[in-house]
């Protein structure tokens, strides 16, 4: 078999130049464009040298999946089809990735939940599939509206989990995500999440890299496991799995396998810091009051900080970019001066607040909230109100106008 040689500087069949990723993302000129989040996903994938895209329609990711169909028609994607269900899609993604393809998929809410069995399998098989999760409600009664509860279920799958705030994050992180997740010491699937509708269906100015530049293709020969082969794991593991053997060695092997997946997440830390310029962004970390958030709750937190400044209350911000790897040390350092830490979330359980409480000393400083869910918006005024109430300041109720 011929050795894989560098393709940097050569062109693909669409005339795009395979470009050094660092140069493409950090040095190439950017063009401001006014796009929806879904259109941004399409534009990122145009530049991602994807081999296969598979999806099943579910709101709010359907538009992105359909737009990528246009890319397939234009010849930018090697193969593209609709699976029979989300479970089928994720299994088909696995098949393509086992065979050495760079794979992309999108899903949302109940689709994520339906496909859940596949995600630890992807991670265990070291498949660097990228999955966009446009978060929405998952419980009955049916809701297609923004709600980030499904992220909580992804956190222990062994996947990398990143949470984008804006369409610009989305564009950059889709491309950078492939580079991080395909590192041989990482080589794990990436769930790149955003808050559905808020990001996917609103328009924003996004600075795009040149359309005639694209990522270098995936090199499956750098994988930490062999490409699919009926005599090699993971296929052989599925045919002849450890669970069929009741002995210490089988159990210890499986345990070590699991540990290796989580070790790979730890290894992604170095690469994620390099490509994302840190696992968190911070503002005013010397403030007594901090807001720690991920996704669009960061944007609302930022606006709340501006409102509080108008009232003479100084407040800082931590934007959590990666949930796996979890930025434990970074959050501990950024909140060390805080007397009060507020965690606004678009879900009912407050999974981010729980993660933060488990991370920092004196976790009674954490105020889990405000929470909205089921598609509710989070006006910055309710974050302000939460903070002022906790500080014993007078705050007007935002619940209604009374009788």
């Amino acid at each position: 078999m011929a050795e894989i040689k560098s393709v940097i500087g050569t062109q693909n069949k669409k005339g795009q130049t395979y470009t050094d990723t660092w140069k493409m993302m950090n040095e190439a000129p950017r063009t401001p464009s006014f796009y929806t989040g879904s259109e941004v996903i399409k534009e990122a994938i145009r530049r991602a040298s994807c081999d296969v895209m598979i999806a099943y329609p579910i709101t709010p990711q359907s538009e992105a999946a359909a737009l990528i169909g246009e890319l397939f028609a234009e010849g930018y994607i090697g193969d593209y089809f609709r699976g029979e269900s989300e479970f089928a899609v994720m299994s088909q993604c696995a098949g393509a990735a086992f065979g050495g393809a760079r794979v992309f998929t999108t899903t949302a809410g109940p689709g994520t939940m339906r496909a859940m069995e596949n995600f630890p399998m992807w991670a265990g098989a070291r498949l660097p599939i990228q999955m966009i999760v446009t978060c929405r409600g998952i419980n009955s009664p049916l809701s297609i509206q923004p709600d980030t509860l499904e992220i909580a279920y992804l956190l222990n799958t062994g996947m990398l989990v990143w949470h984008a705030e804006t369409a610009q994050d989305f564009f950059d992180w889709i491309l950078k995500g492939y580079i991080v997740s395909e590192e041989p010491d990482v080589h794990l699937p990436l769930a790149l999440c955003c808050d559905g509708f808020f990001v996917t269906h609103t328009k924003d100015v996004v600075n795009l890299t040149p359309a005639d530049m694209c990522l270098p293709p995936y090199d499956p020969y750098r994988s930490p496991v062999p490409c699919m082969d009926m005599e090699c794991p993971p296929v052989r593991m599925m045919r002849d799995p450890f669970v069929m053997k009741s002995n210490y060695i089988s159990y210890a092997t499986h345990a070590s396998w699991q540990q290796e997946i989580w070790a790979a997440i730890e290894r992604s830390r170095k690469h994620s810091i390099h490509w994302l310029n840190g696992l968190i962004d911070t503002e005013n970390t010397d403030a007594d009051i901090m807001i720690v958030a991920s996704g669009t709750a960061v944007s609302q937190g930022r606006e709340a900080i501006r409102l509080l400044e108008d009232e003479g209350v100084r407040c800082g911000l931590v934007k959590v970019k990666t949930l796996r790897p979890w930025p434990e040390e970074e959050i501990r350092e950024a909140t060390k001066n805080a007397k009060h830490i507020f965690v606004p979330e678009f879900n009912v359980t407050g999974w981010l607040a729980r993660e933060i409480k488990a991370t920092i000393p004196n976790h009674e400083r954490v105020h889990a909230g405000p929470h909205v869910c089921g598609g509710m918006t989070m006006p910055p005024e309710i974050i302000v109100s939460e903070i002022k109430t906790a500080l014993g300041m007078k705050s007007f109720s935002l619940a209604g106008r009374g009788s």
């Binding site: 590192e183 496991v225 593991m237 053997k245 070590s256 290796e260 070790a263 790979a264």
Partner: protein, 211 residues
């Protein structure tokens, strides 16, 4: 920096993955020794020293170098044979260098023949059976290498070295990264250079078998 050190075991019923204990992989041009980043030059010396001290220094070549699937693999295989021959020339009476392949990764039940192969799912069997007290992994896919290295650290006292073609292995006691023919040859040269300067631990050897 983590206080954890990657040391010969037997460490634990289920030892942690070194990465989860804060051990980080070296950058290009570096290696790690016991989990501490070190200059590659120092790693050659330490690896050669460990080989020359060992009672049963062993090379475990994996599928990436056992099959001539590209020109580089064939050249690496030749270099590995040279390293093995160098080891044989440089050890003293009583030391027994071995070369035992890891031909594939299939779980093999009821058990492998530990005299002729090593398997990533139960590498400790080969270590115990042959009383291997120092080994080097070359040409093993990274996932399987990490699996093996951790299991070996968990249940044996064997000193582990990884010559990794990618980013290296925290679960080895010493790891090179970006392995090449030149690096394998340089390790052989270092073994040759240190010949006669290192006292084998023949009389005090604690065998690879931990029980």
């Amino acid at each position: 920096m983590s206080d954890y050190r990657v040391l010969p075991g037997p460490e634990h019923f289920l030892p942690p993955a070194a990465a989860s204990m804060g051990i980080r992989l070296p950058n290009p041009g570096e290696a790690h020794i016991n989990g501490v980043i070190a200059p590659e030059e120092k790693a050659y010396e330490e690896a050669a020293r460990q080989f020359l001290m060992a009672k049963v220094p062993t090379i475990f070549p994996g599928p990436l170098v056992l099959w001539a699937w590209n020109e580089k693999a064939a050249k690496k295989a030749t270099a590995i044979r040279h390293l093995f021959n160098t080891l044989k020339e440089c050890v003293q009476a009583g030391q027994k260098p071995m070369l035992i392949p890891m031909p594939d990764y299939r779980p093999k039940y009821p058990k492998i023949n530990p005299e002729v192969e090593i398997n990533p799912n139960h590498p400790n069997l080969t270590i115990w059976h042959n009383k291997i007290d120092c080994c080097i992994f070359i040409g093993v896919h990274c996932h399987q290498a990490n699996l093996s290295l951790k299991i070996i650290r968990g249940g044996t006292s064997c000193y582990t070295i990884a010559m990794c073609a990618q980013a290296g292995h925290e679960d080895a006691m010493l790891s090179f990264r970006d392995a090449s023919v030149d690096k394998i040859m340089r390790l052989a040269d270092t073994v040759k250079r240190l010949k006669g300067t290192v006292q084998p631990r023949l009389s005090t050897a604690k065998s690879g078998a931990s029980n």
